[in-house]
Amino acid sequence: GIQVEQSPPDLILQEGANSTLRCNFSDSVNNLQWFHQNPWGQLINLFYIPSGTKQNGRLSATTVATERYSLLYISSSQTTDSGVYFCAVALGGGADGLTFGKGTHLIIQP
């Protein structure tokens, strides 16, 4: 099956810092989503981005499908950004189960 690798596994930053999280995947995908899992365990949708670039406030994401990677950028970090960030992909173009990476555990210190 498809492999998803996320880096770094852990990241500790001061409030206000910027960060880049990376997701590499082993095959061509038609679905790629970024999620934030908050300390209570809820998975929150950030981006649906199988290709191209999107921005939402302080967050933006870029997927280069031909090179099989995606990047999530967080600018001006806040303590509420803490949690685990997951990249998840699927090969199919319709409704398919997602394959998740192991996540990046982000801690923002005040």
Binding site: A88, A90, G94, L98, T99, G103
Partner: protein
């Protein structure tokens, strides 16, 4: 409801018992998914439904696990003869029909299952 609802939020059971976990998807969503998340790992796909039928059950670990969605809305994940290794958070997600909407999955808060 506004989001995906899962009940119970926590379930403690004894080894060998039978459990049922319920998922109520976002109203109108035709696709429903079950995942399992162990501590420190990303969610792992179990099964997905398109309407009432299981379109892909390749992630179910063994025949002790079974899921149904009889009316194409609420789904129940059933685990027979529970084992301590079944302890995990079970997550449900749903997505809407058509175009890009079919691919975006929205998750519930999960059911934390503890098998003693």
């Amino acid at each position: 409801g506004a989001g995906v609802s899962q009940t119970p939020s926590n379930k403690v059971t004894e080894k060998g018992k039978y459990v049922e976990l319920r998922c109520d998807p976002i109203s109108g969503h035709t696709a429903l998914y079950w995942y399992r998340q162990s501590l420190g790992q990303g969610p792992e796909f179990l099964i997905y439904f398109q309407g009432t039928g299981a379109a892909d059950d390749s992630g179910l670990p063994n025949d002790r696990f079974f899921a149904v969605r009889p009316e194409g809305s609420v789904s129940t994940l059933k685990i027979q003869r529970t084992e301590r290794g079944d302890s995990a958070v079970y997550l449900c997600a749903s997505s809407s029909r058509g175009g890009e909407g079919l691919n975006i999955q929205y998750f519930g808060a999960g059911t934390r299952l503890s098998v003693l």
